[in-house]
């Protein structure tokens, strides 16, 4: 398989994740979409590293995976805190900052 096949696959998964982020009402659902997007970027990095014979892309994938885990843990703790304070699951109802 050529590099373009992997890049296209990653683009498809990225756009599906973007669709999820834009259309989901639930905050955890939005986080799931973000996970998909971050995940597809990792496919790109590893594919480029493999096809260019340069290990840097794989090192960066290790870094992005770690950062994604930290992001998920913080995002979900924020969601739990929001639920505790506002008692709602819907992103549209979290309009505390609305002027």
């Amino acid at each position: 398989m050529g590099l373009q096949a992997y890049l296209t696959l990653a683009a498809v998964v990225f756009c599906i994740g973007l669709f999820g982020v834009m259309t989901r009402r639930n905050t955890i659902g939005i986080l799931l979409g973000i996970e998909l997007m971050l995940n597809s970027v990792n496919i790109n990095l590893v594919a480029f590293a493999r096809y260019l014979g340069d290990v840097t892309g794989m090192v960066f994938t290790v870094f992005t995976i770690c950062i994604t885990v930290a992001e998920a843990a913080l995002g979900l703790s924020i969601v739990i805190l929001l639920f505790r304070v506002r008692r709602t699951v819907t992103a549209d109802q979290l309009d505390l900052l609305k002027g």
Binding site: L9, L18, L32, M58, A72, S77, F83
Partner: protein, 164 residues
């Protein structure tokens, strides 16, 4: 060669199908389980690209860690809210148009590039090379990552603390 092509298409179908299920299914719990399948499929893609170490990290951290946290968060918030969390989507048409437009742009750009058709031979043991690169060339980002992890850990504990 034909085995590789077959494996790629099987993984692509699993990955795209489970990703679609993540963003389309009504039940949030099922969405998380579909996400676990999508992340496992990505680990398969990494294996196909001969990055065994990254496939292992992907399974341990993503499919193991993140999915566990997500399930935990759903269970906790369901108990707090006191009702089963289902999720609906809004503005599906507009979202699909934007996503499809970006996809067309990306695919067109990718198709226009001249890329190396076949991967070169990777040098020796890839895992050893990754480890040596992390601890020599990228040692500063590696240490900063430790600080980020600590900050994230403290932030999560602070957010999730019991009420005073």
């Amino acid at each position: 060669m034909s085995g590789e092509v077959l494996a790629f298409w099987a993984l692509a179908i699993v990955l795209v199908g489970s990703a679609l299920a993540v963003v389309l299914t009504k039940n949030l719990f099922h969405a998380v389980l579909w996400l676990a399948l999508a992340l496992t499929g990505t680990a398969g893609v990494f294996l196909l690209l001969e990055a065994e170490f990254l496939a292992a990290v992907q399974l341990l951290l993503y499919a193991g860690g993140i999915v566990t946290i997500m399930v935990f968060a759903i269970v906790v918030t369901e108990r707090l809210v006191g009702e089963r969390i289902s999720q609906t989507s809004r503005r599906i048409g507009a979202g699909a148009v934007v996503a499809a437009g970006l996809l067309a742009l990306l695919v067109r750009t990718v198709a226009q590039q001249r890329v190396p058709p076949t991967p070169p031979e990777m040098p020796g043991e890839l895992t050893r090379t990754i480890g040596q690169t992390v601890l020599t060339q990228f040692v500063l980002p590696f240490e900063l990552l430790a600080v980020l992890m600590l900050a994230g850990l403290m932030g999560a504990i602070y957010f999730a603390r019991p009420d005073d």
